[in-house]
């Protein structure tokens, strides 16, 4: 098939899935936070609040779009675009699975495989700070300006340990292309320990994985590093003056950055779509098993319904789950779905970690944040990189 047509279709699918994920990530976050705090969370719109993201989108679209009179108009309007553009575009180099054959078409589950993929993502994440910094400056508001300043200082500081933490597994895997990174992590030690870079010799990259995760929390302005939008001191930080869709753009950029960073962590450290244990021990039945358990749980709760409409909705959900479970067992389809399942579940675990931390940890003080980056993370990242480099140089021929 024509290269352009194929790319267009893939871009459409990726954009649709990404935007839906972003919308539902927010629902999941509200639900998880609610359950951590012993609340129920959104549940009025649709069953268990499942239509809440749709309602939120409609609300944000129809809200009054205010343009404060004291702002610097050009940059004020430009900032959300910059933020959302650089947040969304990184997904174009992220691979989601192996190369697949659909009928006569042979294609990779990825928009494009750059041989500088890792650097591309690093560069774009560095550009994303302009959206936040400009928003803070153009708003002509002291809270926004402080938020923007904090954000740029924080991102510059945490980019260093992040880049150093990325460099260590790159030394092990010896490539900058995301697809080759995952291929270099295939196989098992002793037949069952996966050769992901957090387990791979000569030096398992657990330290750099933790450093990367911490730096990623700071880069995406998430709790406990959400100083740029600390609401008890800065109102809402850099997006205080933004309303309606312009506010939603910043929100979307934050979630898109979270997804990208989780994907990068999965690809660099957790072996991408490589399963947790080999196929000989039945790793290909894991997704079916999970969905069958989910389906049976739905049926069980349908027999003992808590609310009258559960008698109808839960069996429907159960049948859908069992259908998905069956889909994972179909011979040709499973070669596409299994890598996707492993990739999505690893990304999902990291995203859940984000939410879990948000529900658990308090916010840092600003000087603690900076001190932590420069006097704790940076030396450890350098030491880790040096030790990794030495061991790789000693063991490789």
């Amino acid at each position: 098939m024509n290269f352009f047509v194929l790319s267009l279709i893939k871009a459409g699918v990726v954009a649709f899935v990404l935007l839906t994920t972003l919308a539902y990530l927010q629902w999941i976050e509200r639900k998880v936070i609610a359950h951590i705090q012993l609340r129920v969370g959104p549940r009025r719109v649709g069953p268990h609040g499942l239509l809440q993201p749709l309602a939120d989108v409609i609300k944000l679209l129809t809200k009054e779009d205010m343009l404060p009179s004291h702002v610097n108009k050009v940059f004020y309007l430009l900032a959300p675009f910059i933020a959302v553009f650089f947040a969304l575009i990184s997904i174009s180099v992220i691979p989601f699975g192996t190369e697949v054959n659909i009928g006569p078409i042979h294609t990779a589950m990825q928009l494009t495989d750059l041989n500088i993929g890792v650097l591309f993502v690093l560069g774009l994440s560095g550009m994303g700070v302009y959206g936040v910094a400009l928003a803070g400056w153009a708003s002509n508001n002291k809270y926004s300006l402080l938020g923007g300043l904090r954000s740029s200082a924080q991102m510059i500081s945490y980019e260093l340990p992040m880049a150093l933490a990325i460099a260590a597994p790159l030394l092990l895997l010896n490539t900058l292309s995301f697809r080759e990174l995952v291929d270099a992590q295939s196989g098992y030690y002793l037949g069952f320990i996966p050769r992901w870079s957090i387990f791979q010799g000569p030096l398992p990259q657990i330290v750099s994985f933790l450093l990367f995760l911490i730096a990623a929390f700071a880069e995406t302005n998430r709790v406990p590093f959400d100083l740029p939008e600390a609401e008890n001191e800065l109102v809402a930080g850099f997006h205080t003056e933004y309303s309606s869709m312009k506010f939603a753009a910043f929100f979307m950029a934050e979630y898109a950055n979270m997804v990208t960073v989780s994907c990068v962590a999965t690809l660099l450290f957790l072996g991408g779509w490589q399963p947790l244990f080999p196929a000989e021990y039945g790793s290909r039945f894991v997704p079916s098993l999970i969905f069958i358990i989910g389906g049976l749980t739905c049926f069980y709760h349908a027999i003992n319904p808590a609310r009258p409409f559960d008698r109808i909705t839960l069996p429907v959900a159960g049948v859908v789950f069992l259908g998905i479970a069956g889909l994972f067992l179909v011979p040709i389809v499973d070669t596409i779905l299994l890598p996707l399942f492993w990739f999505a579940s690893k990304v999902g675990v990291i995203l859940f970690l984000y939410i879990w931390v948000r529900g658990t940890l308090p916010r840092f003080r600003y000087d603690q944040l900076m001190k932590f980056a420069w006097t704790f993370m940076f030396p450890i990242a350098v030491a880790n990189l040096l030790v990794t480099g030495l061991l790789v140089a000693l063991t490789s021929k």
Partner: protein, 166 residues
């Protein structure tokens, strides 16, 4: 395709560079400079220097310019005051500029050796692997000397800043 992209981004780089000089507010100028850096990165990419393009984006557009913007925001620098141009500037500025550019073009034409010109896709040794190998073999001494130079610059900045605080 390559030629079209080259023309677009070369034009963008020139427009951003002119805008950088014309703008009165430092933030606008800094953003124009980011535009120049980004366009240059694309030009490197078109010429086959993938690693250089990524480094340009990360180091210049991503790190150095963020610091520029950061400092401008921190100082809250206002717009530049337009100075009234004298008669000399008004009447001789543009002709002198044209003459200078003409001379420069002539000098470049005569001094530089006439090669076969640039072919897009002709250069393929721009991968991180090739650049790294060259840096650590052929250009090892210049590379290390540059790193020492940068270290000295950093130390100098710290010493100067310290003096002001004390």
């Amino acid at each position: 395709m390559d030629a079209v992209l080259f023309l677009i981004f070369a034009a963008l780089a020139v427009i951003c560079a002119i805008n950088l000089v014309l703008q009165t507010h430092p933030i606008s100028s800094a953003l124009s400079l980011i535009g120049v850096m980004g366009s240059l990165a694309v030009l490197y990419l078109l010429l086959g220097g993938e690693f250089i393009a990524a480094a340009q984006l990360i180091v210049y557009a991503g790190a150095i310019m963020v610091l520029f913007i950061f400092v401008i925001m921190l100082l809250n620098a206002g717009s530049e005051h337009k100075v009234r141009k004298g008669p000399w500037v008004r009447f001789f500025g543009v002709p002198l500029l044209v003459a200078f550019l003409g001379l420069l073009g002539y000098a470049v034409q005569t001094v530089l050796p006439s090669g076969e010109g640039v072919r897009f896709g002709g250069f393929v040794q721009g991968k991180a692997l090739d650049v790294g190998r060259l840096l650590f073999t052929t250009y090892l001494l210049p590379f290390e000397v540059t790193s020492v130079l940068i270290l000295i610059a950093i130390l100098g900045a710290i010493v100067l800043a310290r003096k002001e605080i004390d």
